[in-house]
């Protein structure tokens, strides 16, 4: 680990540290009751309790699994449909208004529909996460494809690349930064939709933990769930950044 990297990590830890201190001070000042804003220590002991009961691992694992599978499905669909819409004017005209309309359907609205169509099991949950992940990927990819430097597209055409070959050798590589940020947004939205997904007849997962603790008034557990979601969300985002940058590694 190089020194500048340590510097970066320190800088990145600055703001969380400040938040933690402020939280601690506010909680200690007694403006809010413990039920409203428990001090950091109490959240820590809630963590300990969950760990002791062996539940935490399960919550984290099942949520991560749902998000990963859902994100994989949703992002592949988003890339495919985004690519199609970016390539073909006809597909764009037919699909894009409907997709844009469906994009505005909130996660909570999907819950009863998916329950109706797909029942309770894992499928509807994963599908909901996939829906969440789909839209940012689709939107950014189709937008990016329609704004690629026409000079480069011309090079692809001049060298006999059409259709999928053009997409693979010119369009997607040229749109890489946009696609990457679309994927990251998709993953983030997958995590956001997870909570709604875990409203579907669920008794495990971080989203369930969040809702359940809200319903039962366990503010400490609720804050714990929020922090865990934030940490794992950030972690998976970083991981995605690493994974997707490595193959192209392009200092563009």
């Amino acid at each position: 680990m190089t020194l500048p990297r340590i510097g970066r990590i320190t800088a990145g830890a600055l703001l969380p540290a400040v938040i933690l201190v402020v939280w601690h001070l506010v909680a200690a000042a007694g403006i809010y009751s413990a039920a409203q804003l428990p001090p950091p220590g109490e959240v820590l002991s809630a963590l300990g309790e969950l760990l002791r009961r062996g539940e935490l691992w399960h919550h984290v694992a099942i949520s991560t699994q749902r998000v990963l599978i859902g994100f994989a499905v949703g992002s592949v669909l988003g890339l495919t449909l985004g690519g199609l819409v970016g390539l073909s004017r006809a597909a764009n005209a037919v699909l894009s208004p409907t997709v844009q309309a469906i994009r505005a359907v909130p996660s909570l609205a999907w819950v009863p529909l998916l329950l109706l169509w797909l029942g309770i099991g894992e499928t509807p949950k994963i599908v909901l996460v996939a829906i969440g992940a789909f839209f940012p990927v689709y939107t950014t990819v189709s937008a990016a494809l329609s704004h690629i430097d026409p000079h480069l597209v011309e090079v692809g055409r001049a060298y006999g690349r059409s259709g999928l070959a053009l997409l693979g050798t010119v369009l997607f590589p040229a749109a890489t930064p946009a696609i990457l940020s679309g994927l990251r947004l998709g993953l983030a939205q997958g995590w956001l939709f997870l909570v709604a997904a875990e409203l579907i007849a669920s008794s495990m997962g971080l989203g369930f933990l969040l809702i359940d603790s809200q319903n039962t008034g366990r503010t400490d557990v609720m804050l714990l769930a929020i922090i865990l979601l934030a940490l794992i969300g950030k972690f998976s985002d970083t991981l995605l950044g690493l994974v997707t940058v490595t193959p192209s590694a392009a200092p563009r």
């Binding site: 009751s33 413990a34 039920a35 409203q36 399960h58 694992a61 099942i62 699994q65 749902r66 819950v111 009863p112 329950l115 109706l116 029942g119 309770i120 099991g121 894992e122 499928t123 949950k125 409203l199 007849a201 669920s202 008794s203 495990m204 809702i211 359940d212 603790s213 809200q214 319903n215 039962t216 008034g217 366990r218 557990v221």
Partner: protein
């Protein structure tokens, strides 16, 4: 490796002739917690090739949603919620009354000068529209001689209502247990008005299609609930411990809710007692457009109850 998720065990669909009984459990239905823990139904029905699965309901609305989507066969809700669902076209029947809870009451903050409902005139009150605490509030206002227009009702989810109350954003809260009990214990909030009769009972609803296909299973469920109720009365300490653990609340809160505010010693046959409450809240439902029309609601009141299972209950 993958984590075992919440896919139902694959026996029901393909396991030739085996039948699945899908029940819900809920924190507001202590008997269901006992049943799920003790596995009485599983043991009894295993011989008949019936598998039992349990599904958590976070609230009456979620139980109704699952019933509508054919995701469960029997679900537990508040009486009023069952009525609204039936009025809005859900094909369900109430087959059992599992408790007469006192889950709703009017709560004010610790230092509030308000001591009676009458003093709430012109004040701001938090409640979740369409739920029992809301109906409780309207009946309480009525009993105190106030009209709904005399107060400002702020629509807030139950948990948020508690926060709003403790923050001082509202003057009172039509609260719901166990949040209400927790607020009492933690923040010193005071219950200024209680009336067990204004609560709309906890009822067990089954899908009509399920009743037509498996009346025997419905009977087994009703029998098991009778047994659970008796067990709780007989083993209060164990029941409190179980309730506290499942609902993730402290034992004092659990004790208060279960032993002081839940009447389990009731007639489980749905009928006149519930109907009386429904009649009182019916105008509210119509006014708030919770039901399509008054006629629908009236029909629902007339057709909701299916008392024969509870009447025929036996404890094994």
């Amino acid at each position: 490796g993958c984590v075992q998720g919440e896919d139902a065990p694959a026996t029901d669909a393909d396991g030739g002739g085996s039948v699945a009984l899908r029940l819900d459990y809920a924190y507001y239905n202590p008997a269901s917690l006992v049943l799920r823990e003790q596995k009485w139904l599983e043991t009894e029905l295993a011989g008949k090739g019936v598998t039992v699965s349990w599904q958590l309901s976070a609230g009456s609305n979620k139980a109704n949603e699952a019933l509508r989507a054919d995701a469960i066969d029997v679900g537990s809700t508040a009486g009023a919620a069952a009525l609204v669902a039936r009025a809005n076209g859900s094909p369900i029947k109430t087959i059992d009354v599992f408790s007469q809870p006192e889950w709703a009451a009017i709560v004010v903050p610790k230092d509030s000068p308000v001591t009676s409902v009458a003093q709430l005139k012109g004040k701001k009150i938090a409640a979740t529209k369409g739920t029992d605490p809301y109906f409780f509030l309207l009946q309480a206002l009525d009993a105190a001689g106030l009209k709904p227009a005399d107060v400002t009702v702020t629509n807030l989810q139950h948990a948020d209502g508690r926060t709003a109350l403790e923050r001082g954003d509202v003057d009172a809260w039509a609260g719901l247990d166990p949040l209400m009990a927790t607020s009492e214990v933690d923040a010193g909030s005071k219950l200024i008005y209680r009336n067990v009769a204004f609560n709309s009972y906890g009822v067990l609803n089954a899908r009509e299609a399920f009743l037509a296909e498996h009346p025997d299973l419905a009977q087994s469920v009703v029998n098991a609930y009778e047994k659970a109720r008796q067990w709780i009365t007989a083993n209060p300490d164990q029941a409190v411990a179980l309730y506290a653990k499942e609902a993730k609340i402290s034992e004092p809160v659990a004790k208060a809710v279960l032993t002081e505010r839940t009447v389990l010693d009731i007639d489980p046959v749905p009928g006149a007692a519930q109907r009386a409450v429904f009649e009182k809240i019916l105008p509210v439902l119509v006014a708030d457009a919770n039901v399509k029309s008054e006629a629908d609601a009236r029909t629902a009141i007339d057709t909701l109850f299916e008392p024969k299972y509870a009447t025929a209950r036996v404890v094994s």
